[in-house]
């Protein structure tokens, strides 16, 4: 196994506030790493630094051994790093199918081939398979804005997988999703992880979701790594119980 993602000594300051204070970790190929910690501990800021949405104040990010710090999000995405957002981020006026085609179209060909090629960029089949996989069949041609919250969450996740990513960072995929849909979502994520050897980093507050999905869990507190280990080790770790899980 080799490390898909290597993060070393990432720091991010906002004025006088240090949101992320020297975080280092690796994620191995095919692994699902959970990232937990109290609100404001720097999880999302760390994500944004890794993904190029924020420029880290210090530190390095490597994807497949290649230094990617400072790349724009769109460039990083075409290298195979995808993400979902904490708040809903689908394109409400586009149909479910169009959302998914958009999510894949920039990963192939050039600007010119996209202008003169097929309107669906040859992705309609792949998009329909993804729709089937996430059980959104009956909604394919509905505008994404008309879907329920949970359905939009599923679509959001489906979009992240359209380009066939190596690494996906999921920011609270379970937030606001009802229990039955949640087990669906978990099952889908686990299946993609198995079948495509996609590597995940998952931020989540739903402990049951994290502990059952992830092979390793990293706990952050006050911008630093507090603990890292298997879910059962993390559950028993006194420092983690003190800072986050509670007694």
């Amino acid at each position: 196994m080799s490390a898909v993602l290597e993060v070393s000594e990432i720091k991010k300051h906002f004025g006088g506030i240090t949101a992320v204070n020297g975080v280092s970790f690796d994620v191995q190929e095919g692994e699902i790493l959970g990232l937990i910690g109290p609100n404001g501990c720097g999880k999302s800021t760390l994500f944004n630094c890794i993904l190029g949405q924020l420029m880290p104040s210090a530190g390095e990010v490597k994807v497949d051994g290649k230094l990617v710090t400072g790349l724009r999000p769109s460039e990083l995405n075409r290298l195979g790093v995808s993400r979902t957002f904490q708040l809903l981020q689908v394109f409400p006026k586009l149909s479910v199918l169009e959302n998914l085609i958009l999510a894949g179209q920039e990963h192939q060909g050039s600007m010119m081939s996209r202008l003169f090629g097929r309107p669906d960029a040859g992705l309609a089949d792949a998009a329909n398979r993804m729709i089937g996989f996430f059980k959104l069949d009956h909604l394919a041609n509905e505008p994404a804005g008309g879907l329920s919250y949970g359905q939009q969450k599923l679509l959001d996740a489906a979009m992240a997988f359209m380009g066939g990513p190596r690494l996906v960072l999921l920011d609270e995929p379970a937030g606001g999703v009802n229990p039955s849909m949640l087990s669906d979502l978990k099952e889908r994520l686990a299946a993609i992880n198995r079948e495509r050897r996609a590597t995940f980093v998952v931020i989540e507050h739903n402990m049951e979701f994290v502990m059952s999905l992830c092979s390793r869990v990293m706990v952050m507190a006050e911008g630093r790594v507090l603990a890292m280990g298997r879910p059962d080790e993390i559950r028993k770790n006194p420092a983690v119980i003190e800072a986050y899980l509670g007694h």
Partner: protein, 332 residues
């Protein structure tokens, strides 16, 4: 029902095209001029609809691009160059300037961007008025020739109307192609959620610049037809008010809907003519009509149609649900 529905749209489209070709044959000189002007303004508004309606980038400079295109065509054709070459130059020139004007849009958005483009609009007007060695200054450029196309003279109003209509047809097809291509999807993504678009690999910088450049190029095309239509140009028609008019056409027609500019331009060009019998009051009535329309339907005329269709679909769906429910109850 659905089989008929499938044919209604193409049939309607064909009927409109046929009417646009046949009905004006009996029109007066003035009627033809107004209709030609509608075609030209529709082209410019389609360009702005691309930049603003689809890609969500506010521009108050579309009128200036029409001016750039018109002056390019006027200068070239009065020096004996063919209109076709002037069209290409106008398009490329506006594409290039539009591309450059897109750079501020990478830093600022919405009303800030409107101000940047407003400044460009003013700058262009000053160039048209003051650089008289090139543009003829306030005297403008007169005796702009109309072209011969495959040996046919288009000097008379009717043939030149067909030039305008043909150009509108070409631009409509090209824009339709663009909107249906992955680029159209990327433009909408840019408007709706640029951050999410970026995270999906969409190069938002390049698409923003393209949206500006292509929209501006269509402004240039409109200008290059406008010059031989009026056969005389001076700086006044290309001041800020044209940009505002074009903005209004896009919004009144329905920003971001493909046929919005056709309706918007129709209202902006034809309604003042129909209201001419009210003499001094026509601007007032026109203004009130536009205000009422936007209060009633902020998404423009096509927004009304959309709402009607959505209402009908909801009614049909709930009728079906009620039917299914009653069947279920009788089954029990």
């Amino acid at each position: 029902m659905s089989a008929i529905g499938k044919y209604i749209r193409p049939a309607l489209g064909l009927a409109v095209v046929a009417a646009l070709i046949l009905v004006p044959m009996s029109f007066s000189r003035y009627g033809l001029f107004i209709l030609s002007q509608w075609a030209v303004m529709t082209i410019a508004a389609m360009g702005l609809n691309l930049t603003l309606g689809y890609a969500g980038q506010v521009s108050l400079a579309q009128g200036a691009f029409v001016g750039v295109g018109a002056y390019a065509a006027a200068i070239m054709t009065t020096h004996g160059l063919p209109l076709a070459s002037a069209l290409v130059v106008a398009m490329l020139l506006c594409f290039a300037i539009g591309w450059l004007l897109g750079y501020p849009a990478l830093r600022v958005q919405h009303h800030y961007l409107a101000f940047v483009t407003l400044a460009f609009s003013t700058l262009a007007f000053l160039v048209f008025r003051n650089e008289s060695w090139l543009t003829g200054g306030t005297y403008g450029i007169s005796n702009i020739p109309r072209p011969h196309i495959f040996g046919f003279a288009t000097g008379k109003p009717l043939p030149f109307y067909y030039v305008c209509l043909g150009m509108l047809g070409l631009v409509t097809s090209a824009t339709w192609w663009l909107i249906r291509s992955p680029w159209g999807r990327a433009f909408v993504a840019l408007r709706e959620n640029p951050i999410r678009a970026q995270s999906l690999g969409v190069d938002t910088r390049r698409y923003t610049l393209m949206a500006f450049a292509i929209g501006s190029a269509l402004g240039g095309v409109a200008g290059a037809i406008y010059a031989p239509l009026t056969q005389y140009i001076d700086p006044v028609p290309f001041d800020l008010s044209l940009s505002l008019d074009l903005l209004m056409m896009v919004i009144v027609g329905g920003s971001g809907s493909f046929f919005g500019p056709f309706l918007g331009a129709m209202i902006a060009v034809l309604l003042p003519e129909w209201l001419r019998f009210t003499e001094g009051y026509y601007l007032l009535l026109y203004a009130i009509a536009v205000i009422l329309l936007l209060i009633w339907s902020p998404t423009g005329i096509l927004g009304i149609l959309d709402r009607y269709l959505a209402d009908r679909r909801t009614k049909v769906a709930s009728a079906q649900r009620a039917l299914a429910k009653s069947r279920l109850e009788t089954a029990q």
